[in-house]
Symmetry: C3
Subunit: 273 residues, 3 copies
Amino acid sequence: MSTSESSSASPGARVTFTPHPQLPDVALLTLSNPGKLNAVSVAMWQRLREVFEGLAEREPALRAVIVRGEGGCFVSGGDIEEFPAFRFDQARLRHFHEQIVAPALEAMYRCDIPLVAQIERACVGGGLEIACQCDLRIAGAGSRFGAPIARLGFPMAPDELAGVARVAGLATAAEILLEARLLDAPTVLQRGLVHRVVADDAVAAEAEATARRIAAGAPRAARLNKRTLRLVASQFHFSEAQRSELAAYASGPDHREGITAFIEKRAPQFTGQ
Amino acid sequence: MSTSESSSASPGARVTFTPHPQLPDVALLTLSNPGKLNAVSVAMWQRLREVFEGLAEREPALRAVIVRGEGGCFVSGGDIEEFPAFRFDQARLRHFHEQIVAPALEAMYRCDIPLVAQIERACVGGGLEIACQCDLRIAGAGSRFGAPIARLGFPMAPDELAGVARVAGLATAAEILLEARLLDAPTVLQRGLVHRVVADDAVAAEAEATARRIAAGAPRAARLNKRTLRLVASQFHFSEAQRSELAAYASGPDHREGITAFIEKRAPQFTGQ
Amino acid sequence: MSTSESSSASPGARVTFTPHPQLPDVALLTLSNPGKLNAVSVAMWQRLREVFEGLAEREPALRAVIVRGEGGCFVSGGDIEEFPAFRFDQARLRHFHEQIVAPALEAMYRCDIPLVAQIERACVGGGLEIACQCDLRIAGAGSRFGAPIARLGFPMAPDELAGVARVAGLATAAEILLEARLLDAPTVLQRGLVHRVVADDAVAAEAEATARRIAAGAPRAARLNKRTLRLVASQFHFSEAQRSELAAYASGPDHREGITAFIEKRAPQFTGQ
């Protein structure tokens, strides 16, 4: 397995994919965006897709991947400073969600290698979406979950919401989006959104123990179980007309107001127009 | 937003839809049937449908609706005294379930405005069905949930059960119907059937706080999130043959015995015929 | 209702179906494989199917069935000593899963009589699959749940996993299979996989109380509720090509290694080939 990385416009933003230092046949995927709590930039989404597309075929001996953020924090969301460059035009917005983000999440979902999310501190927005594509979610007692994007003036894109709802359930997905609240670790444990909550300084060790347990099983059985679970989950597709309708908010005033206010560090004024 | 109401054969039974006294762009929907713990009459179901059909279009500024029962009690079920007039004939029974109840629940489900259920005391039968059409469920510590209609000799109608199972899950829906037990607030919290349990005298305040949090987000984002969640939940349709088979119990003896015994305040004797 | 049983190659392995000694119109289904914690043999799967196929029609007065294992233990899995005789050939493996196990589970699922699982100690592998076909699951505080078959080198068969995931959810099913861990009773209660956890010596009494509550309702309502819940759950079908692909591991080395090592009481060495 080779170590690789990519950098984006955000200096230092990168995704690294490296062999686990202790566990044979286990890899570490690390999301890193220094100073932004590992917010996912466009380049990081693209790199995520590259890592996971075809991974099971490229690495036949690989038994598990631990997905984490650098520096003891998972992922705080998307890289909002990049948003004004593409979010206020429907075609460019759809390109971002459908051609950049969705394929990265889909590549994780379709990956037959078991993925373990090591969730410390923030699991928000794009971070929540990434965690929901993993098979096992190990969270720290102080971690927080949500997608408070209603305060930024926009909804969750259809494919992304489908992935979150598949794991979190419709009712919890509604709460997260409509109230724009962050849920604490005991709450998401109770809802089944994470599998285990441990002390904050024990998350990495428990994720490693989880990967070790997975690696002790027959790898082919794991890959077939993942394939069967995807068939059971069934495929859900949004029509072209539905996709278009759901993205028509792009050029609306609340969308622009929310993101602009965030960047200008002021409270947004939404009108509902 | 105009205040309106309707009354049914039950004196004082009504549904009111009024602006929230404190929160701008938030409405209060109040179910009221004095002396019957707000049991839902036919006229109340019809009024519910009228309120919610087209609501998002009629009230473009509306950001949230709090759904509650009058007098510190949510809803105890259907108005059973009305049942003998229509339940023992399959065509009239199907008309009630498919043309009266289902369209009211569907109007709530299809409403793009976020709905917050303020659940105090009884959330039973039709009350449970109404709560399951809301997006957020805030419950009091002393509230009770269920649909003990097996003791009245009849099953839950297909569309109504589909709505309950979507929120409660198949296993909890089976428990509620087969055992005819009422579940307490900690149990339904654990199952994810409600989002939050607070002290009984704090339910109204928490429902209001929830509506305030929703109203602070971009309204168009909320409406699109609701639309996307409905697409994710996908559409389930019962065939005509299935509907007919599932309603053929109407003229059976246990159905008549259960409702008659309830009204006569005696224990039913079921034969299984 | 007549008492009956069947025996398999395993001496003493049998499934008995008898009237409940105290409750009228309630039956007891007991799985028994002495010395093997009631592991399910091929003959037991066949007998399970015979009992449940057409049961509602044969026993019109029957109101509930309690499903349990003999001697205070539910079911520890399949009868692994039988496995080498048929598991390493794809055609015979598919025959076992698709013609022996799946029809037994399907017969339970399609049975319109409410089924109550009385879960003591082990609810593992085939035992978990059987429990997930019941409507109510009452578990002892010391019970354990899982399917650690990855350590035996094989995945869960598609129809069986579909049944487990329908009740346990996709995320818990993934954890059970990928980590090959046994989950304890508080964990499965939290996940909604069981309805109630009681003291180990109170499981039988609570299962009986549950059957009594079910039997107090109108039997036809119960049967229609079960039918409606199955329609709501909808039908999921695996294609022939999918079934073939998912069973192609049969002749692989890890599959043989896992089962052979278990029988030889040594640790397996998996290669991923």
